[in-house]
Amino acid sequence: MAGAEKQSGREQNGRDAGTIRQRLDSLGEQLAEAKSRHAPAPGPEPQGQGAALGQALRLGIELVAGVAVGGFIGWWLDRFLGTAPFLMVVFLGLGAAAGIMNVVRTAKRMQADAQSVKDLPSVLDDDDD
């Protein structure tokens, strides 16, 4: 008698565990569904026009800074060595070269960043197909 009761109790427990697992699974499904509903759509660009403007300004400043620093170094050396204005002319050119190099590097980094952002959703999408 007692054994049978125990048996039924265990069954009861087993059934409870089963239903709990079932309920957990369905809850998990619901959660995943809700999450996918609230997830931001893999839209075109996370940043808007303001960010683009910032990037453009960044490139412009990079170029001007090169010329300015080159010119300043040349002017300072000229004053030091008394060779005005030759070194300033030379260093203005070198500064422009440095500025262009900086712009290219910055643009490359921006491109890489944009690429990594763009790649992210496509990687996540892969399990669809």
Binding site: G54, L57, I61, E62, A68, L94, G95, A97, A98
Partner: protein
Amino acid sequence: MIDAAYAAEGAGHGGGAAGGLPNPMHQFEIKRLIPFELFGFDASFTNSALFMLIAATLITLFTVYAMHSRALVPSRLQSVAELSYQFIANMVRDNVGTDGMKYFPFVFTLFMFVLTLNMLGMVPYSFTVTSHIIVTFALAAFIFLGVTLIGFWKHGAKFLKFFVPEGVPIVMLPLLVVIEVISYLTRPLSLSVRLFANMMAGHTMLKVFGAFVVALGFLGGWAPLAFMVAFTGLEILVAFLQAYVFAILTCIYLNDALHMHHH
């Protein structure tokens, strides 16, 4: 004499000059709150210093108060503090690597300071400290010096190799090294000018359009007012973005100094 110049500037603005628009640059004026001289240098406590003090106090209060409960399930304020920690920690880890986490406190402080100063500048009647090139240049110069010292401290004289591009014919090398050095020296300038120019241009624009609203009156003033509302939103974005760019470029420079990766 400087005081007289200040007074003249103030008077020129005071009545809107000759009935024209108010001077949009008036908002950037430095005012001495507590005149003070140190060894012949003017070390007065100015409105700029006041706002830096406010920013430092706000950051300290915010971080200390937000984390005071140290709850496992964070409150809203604690989440904000943890989010900002995470944000910068990830930035440092992604851009410098795990051995760069030593410098996390510096980058976090820098980001919070610049962000708070930028955001404080968005409050009407306040003062935007980051719209002064000398402030941003001082920040950038310290970053530049610190990063260069870290580079030499980590790699010794080998750090000079950073200026020597690889795979270049020996004839071209002197020219390219000079260009590389100039390019390295532009860092403090471009870093400081970027922040300063963004903040100053935005605030000047806001002031100019604010003057248009008043000048055009009740009938015509709505168009510039609508523009100003949109522009204020953009300015808040710029305030955040520039603090972010300032911090991330600091990380990139740190990474160059620590690992000498050539870009």
